[in-house]
Symmetry: C2
Subunit: 205 residues, 2 copies
Amino acid sequence: MPSRLPSAPRTGRPRSAAADAAILEATRAALVELGWSKLTLGDVASRAGVAKTTLYRRWAGKNELVVDAVAVLFDELELPDRGSLAADIEGVVLQFAAILDRPEAKTALMAVVAESTRDEPLRERIRTSIVERQKRLVLEGRSRAQARGELPLEKDPTAAARTADLIFDVVAGAVVHRALVSAQPVDEEWAARFTRLLVGGLAGD
Amino acid sequence: MPSRLPSAPRTGRPRSAAADAAILEATRAALVELGWSKLTLGDVASRAGVAKTTLYRRWAGKNELVVDAVAVLFDELELPDRGSLAADIEGVVLQFAAILDRPEAKTALMAVVAESTRDEPLRERIRTSIVERQKRLVLEGRSRAQARGELPLEKDPTAAARTADLIFDVVAGAVVHRALVSAQPVDEEWAARFTRLLVGGLAGD
DNA sequence: CAGTTACGCTACGACCCGTAGCGAAATCTG
DNA sequence: CAGATTTCGCTACGGGTCGTAGCGTAACTG
């Protein structure tokens, strides 16, 4: 990961990998208990059994630390083949909703996005650590649907990439908005209605 | 508005309405210059030419103040009749994107949503002050489209309300995700592609 | 007029920030 | 093994913000 600070040459005492893991775990625990705004780096350090200075040697600040602590949560997402495009979409929507249901995920995700509006490096880091990694789901779901004949092939690669970006923003955006802004449950029923809308469109039957 | 603190009886010196306006304006200005995280209530007070204590007499904290300061921005949204459902959607998407392009709007909106994940009263306040107010756009757009014959009538009122909520989450969520998470421009081309997807669906022509 | 409430101002303890400086521990090199 | 190098835990610090209390004054009511 390009996540940490300058990091090391090859001589001298190496950085403790166990400390890294303990810090990230402590960060998630602190997010659950305190939320973003009341989380302090001093508290994280003492939870992790680490000196505060050690923390500052590895991360520039709260923003960077929390991105690293939370990014891994989104790697749990999978796209098992459920036999149809609609079923695949419903499945991933419910998985995504389950992650957003975890308190550390929702408070951290929105907060770092808010911070990123005034911090270009942070924005790039969110893109590479979280957003860009999960587009794999869209690509895989679409290629499956094309193999099934549910979706037409798209020849122009740049147009195909734009379509994938668009679908990703629609799916992820809708789920996030429903769960965090409207503050309503993303349950099976909502997922089914959303999928029906996405596949068939407003005008669809 | 149920926005301020306890507020007043009818005897004694009345609260200055001018101070209210000055505080909210100063809050927006501070958001532009400093962003959410570096905004301090002491700074807002001095910008507004008001004592810090006055500020605390009216708002419980940063969260509540910023919600009030930003909510008014979203009231600018309108839905002029452009003759077709697709054109109406494109129009409101671009308007929404223009608001999210303002630095005070994006930094504040995401930050208060993040805070609201651990603060039920704040979540309710966001719902009533911002989210619920703008659903009027969905309702109006749909009733126009139904009058044009572009969309079928929905008889069951609860089903109709659910559909409206769903569409709102999809539209607002997609625009927010595109603009703030993916950090890509919401321009005419994207709006057109999104509208085509929403109206026709993934399988659409 | 007296009663009541808002205002500006000052001051305060509490907390967190981010950094500096120290001696000790861990690892690589010759 | 000796020396160089880097990390580690610890303590301490100045600087900043928080949210509140207290006071005298201003504005409005009856």
